[in-house]
């Protein structure tokens, strides 16, 4: 019976992780090129229960729930026009390559600017790489030809913060670069809201299970062994 207590508690903890992920999606509802996450849960450590008197098997019994994975949905989102010459969006698959202090990183957030040397850089000041892996220079008219930006296909992309993504580059991707546009955030407000409500109710259900088990244990401790008052 106490096992149920811990199973219910693990379910509540798992919902907390889901809630953290949803809050992160919502906080990034306006971040260009942001990709939304989805949390999946799985049971782990199933035990085979058996009747201790007869030895007959009762069936498998889960011992807890865990968050097995957070998957990122990297599907391209529509680009929206901004009219800024140094805003870029990739229409289709692929990532911009960015030179950072930790090596080459990738991004779909194309809100770029120019640095003191006239190079095209991200808002954090990291140079954006063009075809052939060289930094790009902003022209005298304040523009960069979108065809000169490198669009990399990535295997196993993984979000790394600061709008950057890590992964294994695998050649040129099919996506086309458009200047004067930014890719919309992948966070879907309606879906996040629904997930948030479902997750909160699952959390609440876990609480009810714990309370019920607590009541049952209370009865076992105080009433089963009580000397009848009559």
């Amino acid at each position: 019976m106490e096992r149920g207590l811990y199973i219910a508690a693990s379910g509540m903890l798992a919902e907390q992780v889901r809630q953290d992920q949803i809050a992160n999606d919502l906080a990034n509802a306006a971040t260009p090129g942001y990709k939304a996450d989805r949390t999946s849960q799985a049971g782990f450590g199933e035990l085979l229960l058996a009747n201790s008197a007869t030895g007959a098997t009762v069936g498998p019994q889960g011992t807890a729930v865990q968050v097995s994975a957070v998957e990122t949905d990297f599907t391209p989102k529509p680009a929206k026009d901004t009219g800024e010459p140094l805003d870029f969006a990739i229409v289709g698959e692929g990532f911009f390559a960015v030179q950072t202090a930790n090596g080459t990183r990738y991004t779909r957030n194309g809100q770029f600017t120019a640095d003191a040397q006239g190079r095209l850089v991200t808002a954090q000041g990291n140079p954006v790489l063009g075809r052939g892996g060289r930094a790009l220079t902003v022209g005298a008219d304040g523009r960069v030809d979108p065809r000169n930006l490198e669009v990399v296909a990535l295997r196993n992309p993984r979000k790394d913060g600061d709008s950057l993504v890590t992964g294994t580059p695998g050649g040129t991707a099919a996506g086309q670069v458009r200047a004067g546009a930014l890719e919309a955030s992948g966070a879907d407000a309606a879906r996040s809201m629904v997930d948030m409500i479902a997750s909160m109710r699952a959390f609440e259900a876990g609480q009810k299970v714990i309370q019920t088990i607590d009541e049952t244990l209370g009865k076992a401790a105080t009433q089963v062994g009580a000397v009848s008052g009559g």
Binding site: V70, L86, Q111, T113, A116, Q117, D162
Partner: protein, 245 residues
Amino acid sequence: MLEGLNSAASGMAAQQQRLDSVANDLANANTTGYKHGRVGFRDLMYEQAGRPAADGVRTGHGAAAVDAGKSFGQGVLQRTDRPLDVAIQGEGFLRIKLQGGRDALTRDGNLQIDGLGRLATNTGALVQPQITIPKGTPEAEVAMGGDGTVTAAGRRVGKLALVTVRSPQALTPIGDNAFQPSAASGAVGPAPRATKLTQGALEASNVDMASAMVAMIESQRAFELVSKAIHTADQMWEIANGVKR
């Protein structure tokens, strides 16, 4: 526990910053030579989630606003037919010396002649290099050519210097329509040849009311949305508190 509370708060703070920037843009929708801000967002770091999460399950920590500087898109030229008004077409700035002695750049060409006959902006900052209009010259006889040459009653008295930096987005706005170069903007150099001056016109603010309004609505809704995550986290704390009655 419930890191989401902080992630949501960071998202609200980020939206607040963009709202501030949009409000400033809207307030300057009629400011000569004003350039609107570019505020973007980025996500923050991702960390291994606490138990009961499998290895490799990482949750993010919210969002932050990113200042991508000013947008130097050309503003529309407005005809004023005032001889001392001059609009810059293309990339470039006028060099001015502020009253405190500091050098600055501006695209506000609403010029005046000060008490000593020198060309100055409407806040009294002197145009560099200094140009003196001979005493008694009527304003109507001051001519400014496309390349910046200033003549008074047909006589050349100086030339307005057009300058720029490598990264105008990174210039520091210092108020009064003036900018100062920063380490990120690069040093001041001559403007491209294609840049021209137009006398008798002023460059309007490049704030587009429609896009500013859309940005404002988007920020407000995103702000509201994230606040729901805070509310939910709060409810979950309450539920957790209710476990032990």
